[in-house]
Amino acid sequence: MWRFLARRLLELVVVFIGVTFVIYCAVFLLPGDPIEALGGDRPLPESVQQQLREQYGLDQPIWQQYVNYLGGLFQGDLGTTFTGQSVSEQMANRWPTTITLALTAWVLTVLISVVLGLVAGLRQGSAIDRSVLLGTIIAESVPVFVMGITAQYVFGIMLKWTPIAGIGDGWPRAFILPALIIAIYGLAGVSRLMRGSVIDTMQSDFVRTLRAKGLARRSIVGLHVTRNAAAPVVNVLAIQLGSLLGGTVVIEAIFNINGVGQLLYKAIQDQEGTLVVGVATTLVLIFLITNVVVDVISSLLDPRIRND
């Protein structure tokens, strides 16, 4: 077990360095000079620009800058923006919004997909089963932003059930619609998995035994099948939690929600390199750590995975 954990952690470090380096290069090798852009139409004196470049280490080669950045990162310092604000502070009040959105979306995914998978799996081959399958394919196919603007129009403008954009109304009213749209995106995969798992469990020996001893169908499904069928699904659901954060970036832009995604977006437009790298790094880190935690938990549940 410890060897497995050590190997996964080592992989995490390697991947993390690789990913952050790609991000770093993409951001800082870009054409366009952020220092020059600071001055706008009235360029800053050359000496001031030079001093600022030295202050932010922009005169060093890219690998040197990256190593410095990593060094700061290990001390919990994400750097400062070109306007002198601390990157971590900028992010601090944005994270709660994004995490609330992602968690709400995740809970919705869990509830809806488990119910859909259970209903479809228990009535395999029926009209309900087929419509669940087709429905989830269609739901998965509609691009997130198309669904977003349609939902804004229908629920926000026509029915006036939810606010059109922003989070002024607080949780849950303002979050429910964007969260639902993020949730729908992951629905197809998870409900299919649940369905397959339910079908397998229903055909297993212990269910036959329960039936033979005359247990009511309701208790068989409620007590035994659901719990056993959910095991493989838990794994996927946990991985989804990480990728949901990526989904929120798109949804935040459509619903004008002031989360980390919007911050990233604005940072990209303002050429705030350190801020872009900082936000992207934290997103990637959360994503990677979730994956490792999931791997460890599932290897505890099923030791066969460790030898993979």
């Binding site: 992989e11 390697v14 991947v15 993390f16 690789g18 990913v19 790609v22 991000i23 993409a26 951001v27 090798l29 870009l30 054409p31 395999q124 087709l134 394919i137 269609i138 998965e140 196919s141 509609v142 691009p143 997130v144 932003f145 198309v146 603007i149 349609t150 804004q152 129009y153 403008i157 397959g196 079908i199 397998d200 990480g242 990728s243 954060l245 990526g246 989904g247 970036v249 798109v250 832009a253 990233l264 977006y265 990209i268 872009v276 992207a280 997103l283 990637v284 994503f287 990677l288």
Partner: protein, 298 residues
């Protein structure tokens, strides 16, 4: 003398798979619906000008500012957008862009994945580990985040560049699939027989291993074309994808979003085309996957 024998072994295997696949697909309504829809879209992509000219305006760039945001009517069956351009002509020309991006991305992705996946699965050892770590790094980016960052730094975003970036972030899924199926096929008897006959490594890989390892990727490739088309539209909508002179559904939708209440038709028609295209590709991929792996459906 040895030649026909190996061909027969491979041939039988392949033909049996293909026949079974076709027999399953032929009976599925889902398969035919998606094939017919995709055929229509392909025709549109080839001759968008002729088709839209048939309904009125054949040039998507010929716009009349006085006729801005007009609802559907004679001469403009889908109405006009804020610049007074014909929505139908733009939607039809957008089909070409979207299919181009979808197919190009998937093609680039497949080439990279086949080369790397085969290398990893066939060679194993450090080559395998190196490619696996590379795949891990790319998969370390949450959905669309990597593309957003990279594309934003690109000065001139053409459809080809967008394809290259999207392909860069999607090859690992394919490569892993090909790797595991190459690993499995490599151990089969006909591959060992080919080795025993003294064929070169390259020949064994090209004529025996690969043809028998690619089937599972077929289904995912179809799904991916759909996914890429959706991703392009999303990126364009967010402002980091294609930019106007390019004609695409994403460009139309990102402009139209601001006039949603004023001119809903400018949002509705591109959305319908986009959604139908993605749905038919994903349905096709789904039907192929079922036919390739009947256990999945149970």
């Amino acid at each position: 003398m040895t030649e026909p024998a190996t061909v027969a072994i491979d041939g039988n295997f392949d033909r049996a798979t293909t026949r079974g696949l076709w027999a399953t697909l032929r009976g599925r309504l889902q398969f035919w619906v998606s094939v017919v829809l995709l055929a229509c879209l392909a025709i549109i992509a080839v001759i968008p000008g002729i088709l839209s000219g048939f309904f009125g305006q054949s040039d998507p760039r010929s716009c009349d500012l006085l006729a801005s945001n007009r609802p559907p009517g004679p001469g403009h069956p889908f109405g006009t957008d804020v610049q007074g351009c014909d929505v139908l002509a733009n939607v039809l020309f957008g089909t070409r862009t979207s299919l181009f991006i979808g197919l190009t991305t998937t093609a680039i992705c497949l080439i990279v994945a086949v080369v790397l996946g085969t290398l990893a699965g066939y060679r194993g050892g450090w080559v395998d580990s190196l490619i696996a770590r590379g795949a891990d790094v790319v998969l370390g980016f949450p959905f669309l985040l990597g593309a957003i960052i990279v594309l934003n730094t690109a000065p001139d975003r053409t459809p080809l560049l967008l394809s290259a970036v999207l392909a860069f972030f999607s090859w690992p899924t394919f490569a892993r699939l090909i790797r595991s199926s190459v690993k499995e096929v490599r151990e089969r008897e006909f591959v060992q027989a080919a080795h025993a006959l003294g064929f070169s490594q390259l020949r064994v890989v090209l004529t025996h291993v690969l043809p028998n390892s690619l089937a599972p990727t077929l289904a995912i490739a179809a799904t991916m074309v759909g996914g890429v088309i959706g991703a392009e539209a999303t990126l364009t909508f967010l402002g980091v994808g294609l930019v106007p002179p390019s004609i695409s559904w994403g460009v139309q939708l990102s402009t139209a979003q601001s006039y949603f209440q004023l001119a809903p038709h400018t949002v509705v028609f591109p959305s319908i085309f986009l959604t139908v295209t993605v749905i038919s590709l994903i349905m096709l991929g789904d039907a192929l996957r079922d036919a390739l792996d009947p256990r999945g459906r149970a």
